[in-house]
């Protein structure tokens, strides 16, 4: 009965994996008094008050909007810079191309905290502190190298003869890139966008340091729930649930191509 054993094992694993998330969902549907008074596996008197507060109080929902702004800005910047770079790496030979390509990846090896201080000084010099652009730009440090790597893998999967055929057919380079090449690597572009989104969405340290009020990300706002009267558990849980949702949605869209993306397109 090997099959059953495996099934049981998987169920235990799954329960352990989902328990914290369920618990957060559970808490988000209860009032603070309820949470603190009784230990319960399900909300006895479910309420949406916590969610309503987040969606009506600007100081709360602006956090989500800010996060969305800089994340989408970052995805755009990353793709716009990584697409030409990846094309060059995949199609041309130039001096030091292999070293440069590897060096790109080493950018991801340094912890973000290392860049915190220089970034803060540079951005304040250019009056960029507390703008969405500042956060989007700082996240490029990690996302552009990754995007180049993933896209290069997908681009190298397209035979070079396609490019040559297009030149013989009479395409200009921009037109070839937009109408022939991009459709051929659209999976790669989707997966890259997903990776950029994910990293930018969960990154807290840089986002929090480079912002004060106007571009404050949701994760930073969540820390506001700590007050003299204690923690606002229910509200915090609701905000947490809402933070998971966008990521889950994006994963849903690229679920069929994720494995290839994790292999950097080299499958």
């Amino acid at each position: 009965m090997k099959f059953q054993k495996r099934t049981i094992g998987l169920i235990i694993y799954f329960v352990l994996l989902m328990l914290p998330i369920y618990w957060m969902l559970n808490m988000s549907l209860r009032t603070n008094a309820d949470i603190l008074s009784a230990f319960s596996f399900y909300p006895s008197a479910p309420t949406l008050d916590n969610y309503i507060k987040i969606f009506t109080d600007e100081s709360w929902y602006s956090g989500y909007l800010n996060s969305f702004y800089y994340v989408s800005m970052n995805v755009m910047i990353s793709l716009l810079t990584a697409l030409p770079a990846a094309y060059a790496f995949s199609r041309y030979n130039f001096l030091g191309d292999k070293h440069l390509f590897f060096w790109l990846l080493t950018n991801r090896m340094a912890p973000p905290a290392v860049f915190l201080l220089p970034f803060f000084q540079l951005y304040s010099t250019f009056n960029l502190i507390d703008t969405h652009f500042a956060v989007a730009l700082s996240h490029c440090l990690f996302n552009v190298p990754l995007a180049v790597w993933v896209l290069e893998g997908f681009m190298s999967g397209v035979p070079r003869e396609i490019d040559e055929m297009a030149y013989i057919d009479g395409y200009s380079f921009p037109r070839f890139f937009l109408t022939i090449f991009m459709p051929l690597i659209r999976t790669g572009i989707g997966v890259t966008a997903f990776f950029c989104f994910m990293f930018s969405w969960v990154e807290l340290l840089l986002a929090r340091t480079l912002t004060t009020t106007a571009a404050k990300p949701i994760a930073a706002i969540m820390t506001r729930t700590v007050s003299a009267s204690g923690l606002d558990w229910g509200l915090l849980a609701a905000a947490g649930v809402l933070t998971i949702v966008p990521g889950a949605l994006v994963i849903w869209f690229v679920r069929n191509h994720l494995a290839k993306g994790f292999a950097l397109g080299r499958v």
Binding site: P159, E161, I162, E164, M165, Y167, I168, D169, G170, I180
Partner: protein, 365 residues
């Protein structure tokens, strides 16, 4: 007049020269095949004609117009690639018509040309399909259709049949030959397969290491190879090539192949070799056969041989023989029963003997 003329064409990658000063004149409506082993520069030459590679030196002209600095699209040449290079996200119709759309051709004219090409290539039923829904042979036809619709003055084929299985390859070979007959255009075709070269070409260009070794009609190259390389490359199974030494005999000169085997050289006017000259003897497998008693050849020689390996091909059989210590491949009729270890009387048709200088590798007889 869509002739293609290559004059002193050189290709260098950095310091490495891969094509050395090639001269080639392809006449209008001619089918020329560039053939040679991989890395001989044949594809590079074709890609220079297409405009996909820069020309490091010399000039290439198409239809009496120097194209060195023209973009690929302005050379009026269409190319067919080995891996088809179809646009996977477009259907057959779009794949074939896209090049024309870019040239701002009127819609009804495009439609007419695509339908016409589809009819020639029997693709009319498949116009709405995507490339991944087609078989290898159909994809290759689409790739050819894409070239045909442009009505180019020159077709360039880069090993178009190498990705197909043997049966399909034979069929497509025939279709390419028919295509040439139908479109009446200049075709330059690159292959490493000498069978394709022999069957398709009006003229074959044999290349090696960036040099042209010989240019000529298929039969001319087959019968009069200019050097050892061409002799060994063209023809299947390849020509027997055996080192030998010239010696003066009682009647004329002879080739000493081994201690016990010496073959008389049929005398030709103005053909006298230095005694002791090291040479390579070439003899086609069909010129070495089992002696059937009657000798109607004007100049032949009979030798006893031992059968080492038998390779039946159906209509004929290749016999790998030991002829008095000299390994040679003979050919016999497929119905003839031969087993390994047989001792046979073999006849050599010395009328078609080839002799190459061992030092220069050039044909000297």
């Amino acid at each position: 007049m869509a002739n293609v003329i290559l004059k002193d064409v050189v290709k260098r990658y950095g310091k490495l020269e891969v094509v050395h000063s090639i001269d080639l004149h392809v006449a209008d409506k001619e089918f020329v095949v560039l053939v040679g082993p991989s890395g001989c520069g044949k594809s590079t030459t074709l890609r220079m004609i297409a405009g996909l590679e820069d020309i490091s030196g010399g000039t290439i002209s198409i239809a009496d117009r120097v194209v060195n600095d023209l973009a690929p699209k302005d050379r009026d040449a269409a190319m067919v690639f080995q891996n088809y290079a179809l646009y996977p996200h477009m259907n057959v119709y779009k794949n074939m018509s896209f090049g024309l759309t870019l040239r701002k051709m009127p819609k009804d004219e495009i439609d007419r040309r695509v339908k016409e090409a589809a009819a020639i290539l029997e693709l009319s039923e498949l116009l709405q399909r995507k490339p991944h829904e087609l078989s290898g042979g159909q994809r290759q036809r689409v790739a050819m259709g894409r070239a045909i619709v442009r009505h180019p003055s020159v077709y360039l084929f880069d090993e178009p049949l190498s990705n197909l299985d043997a049966k399909l390859r034979a069929q497509m070979r025939l279709e390419i030959k028919l295509l040439h007959h139908n479109v009446q255009s200049t075709i330059i075709y690159v292959t490493h397969d000498q069978v394709e070269a022999m069957t398709l070409a009006d003229r074959i260009v044999v290349m090696r290491d960036g040099y042209i070794e010989q240019v000529g009609s298929p039969l001319d190259i087959f019968q009069n190879p200019a050097n050892i390389f061409v002799a060994g490359f063209i023809g299947s199974p390849p020509m027997n090539l055996v080192p030998a030494v010239i010696e003066d005999g009682a009647v004329g000169q002879a080739l000493r192949l081994s201690d016990s085997l010496s073959l008389p050289i049929p005398s030709k006017p103005d053909c006298q070799f230095k005694s002791g000259l090291k040479v390579v003897m070439g003899l086609r497998t069909e010129d070495l056969f089992i002696d059937h008693g009657e000798d109607d050849l004007s100049f032949s020689h009979c030798v006893d041989g031992l059968v080492k390996v038998v390779e039946p091909l159906g209509s004929e059989t290749n016999l790998h023989m030991d002829l008095q210590g000299v390994p040679l491949v003979a050919r016999c009729e497929g119905r003839r029963q031969v087993t390994v270890g047989d001792h046979l009387a073999m006849r050599l048709n010395l009328q078609h003997l080839h002799i190459f200088d061992a030092a220069t590798e050039q044909s000297i007889y």
